[in-house]
């Protein structure tokens, strides 16, 4: 292909490319979220055993998926930054962390709200819940470590180490419901089996996941742009940018 990918790996060109993409992803996130919530609240039928309370699934499951997915993506970009010394990938990893932590917190919170009426408890120390809590701690550790280091290069690399060490937790979260007898139910959607949900419910959930995904991309791009500006503030192109918009 004729596209020069390396061109976009320089912070300056990525800055402008991201600027153009942010509106697209933001609009996609808003539209998908509206559609997903509409399906979730008005179209999807009542569940045969949980009644209306199951509708929290439309936020809970996408948030939980994103919390794990974003961690893997963050570790991957960190690892690339560590291995190939590419500044941009480390910046993206730094930008992902707060969003990932937000989704982890959301998954835990909505899970508690769901657990109280259904299971009869806000919280149990079963393997799924505990490992998801550890994930939140890992995000927090990553962010605090980076915040404590003044030299951005060292911050990137040190963060990458903790992100990569923490990756072992992801399969533990995912498979915890299979490996141990947990109170948490198993996965309703998986690659190998047909989904164990009614089609409209599944559609709503998938659309909400897509919405969360688009939202995450948009926010991460915005945050990456801010990080780029901060780190490159002494370069000529940022100077020109400031000159252009006084």
């Amino acid at each position: 292909m004729a596209i020069n990918w390396f061109k976009y790996s320089s912070p300056a060109s990525f800055y402008f490319l991201a600027g153009k993409m942010i509106p697209l992803f933001s609009i996609a996130a808003i539209v998908l979220c509206a559609v997903g919530l509409y399906i979730g609240f008005f179209v999807a039928p009542t569940d045969f055993q949980q009644g209306e309370a199951y509708r929290i699934i439309f936020i809970h499951v996408p948030a939980a998926w994103m919390s794990m997915f974003l961690y893997v993506v963050m570790a991957m970009w960190s690892g690339i930054g560590l291995a190939f010394n590419t500044r941009l990938s480390s910046m993206i990893a730094t930008a992902i962390a707060p969003t990932g932590a937000m989704f982890t917190f959301l998954a835990l919170w909505t899970g508690a709200l769901w657990g109280k009426p259904m299971w009869g408890t806000w919280w149990v120390w079963d393997a799924r819940l505990t490992s998801e809590l550890i994930l939140l701690f890992l995000y927090i550790g990553f962010m605090s470590l980076q915040a404590a280091i003044d030299d951005p290069r060292r911050a990137d690399k040190a963060g990458a180490m903790i992100a990569l060490v923490g990756v072992v937790n992801i399969p533990i979260i995912y498979f915890s419901v299979k490996w141990w007898n947990t109170l948490h139910q198993g996965a309703s959607v998986s690659l190998t089996q047909s989904p164990k949900m009614a089609t409209t419910m599944l559609t709503g959930m998938l659309i909400m996941s897509l919405a969360c995904w688009m939202y995450a991309i948009a926010v991460v791009l915005i945050r990456t742009r801010a990080i780029i500006l901060e780190r490159e503030r002494h370069t000529a192109w940022v100077g020109e940018l400031q000159g252009a918009t006084p």
Partner: protein, 149 residues
């Protein structure tokens, strides 16, 4: 030792250590690291004696009986092989129904009745509208009738 040999020795011992570690993990998973025990495990004396633990299974159809005080409930937990009678005083979660999953924490008394301090409902990963559920149930029944015939 030459540096090259030293390196090989380090790699070999690392791989061995990781291998043994995975064997140990697999070994552990065959044993009893669980959130709750099934009635069969309790019957096989795999559950703790005289200590608080959790049992999990299905609430047997037709076994739920409310006592006269209105808050004490008797029911039977089954995993289709073995059963454990349970007594519990307190508020039950909404999802607690006959034929559905349940996890109860408490102690097994000498009379073989499990005295629960806490009862949690465990639901499965199936989500569908009630009509679909009843249709499925009917299909299931129909199939069983066919099998019986």
């Amino acid at each position: 030792m030459k540096p090259r040999h030293k390196k090989l020795a380090i790699i070999a011992s690392s791989v061995t250590a990781l291998g043994v570690a995975s064997i140990l993990v697999l070994n552990a998973f065959q044993s009893n690291l669980v959130f709750f025990f099934s009635p069969s495990q309790v019957a096989a004396n795999e559950a703790p004696v005289g200590k608080s633990f959790r049992i999990g299974g299905l609430v047997e159809e037709g076994s739920v009986k409310r006592q006269s005080d209105g808050v004490t409930v008797n029911f039977v937990v089954t995993d289709t092989a073995k059963v454990i009678p349970v007594v519990y005083t307190g508020i039950l979660p909404d999802l607690f129904k006959e034929g559905k999953g349940v996890v109860a924490q408490g102690k097994l008394a000498n009379d073989g009745i499990f005295r629960a301090d806490e009862v949690l409902a465990k639901h499965d990963e199936n989500y569908m509208p009630p009509e679909a559920a009843s249709a499925l149930e009917q299909a299931d029944k129909a199939r069983q009738t066919v099998l019986v015939q």
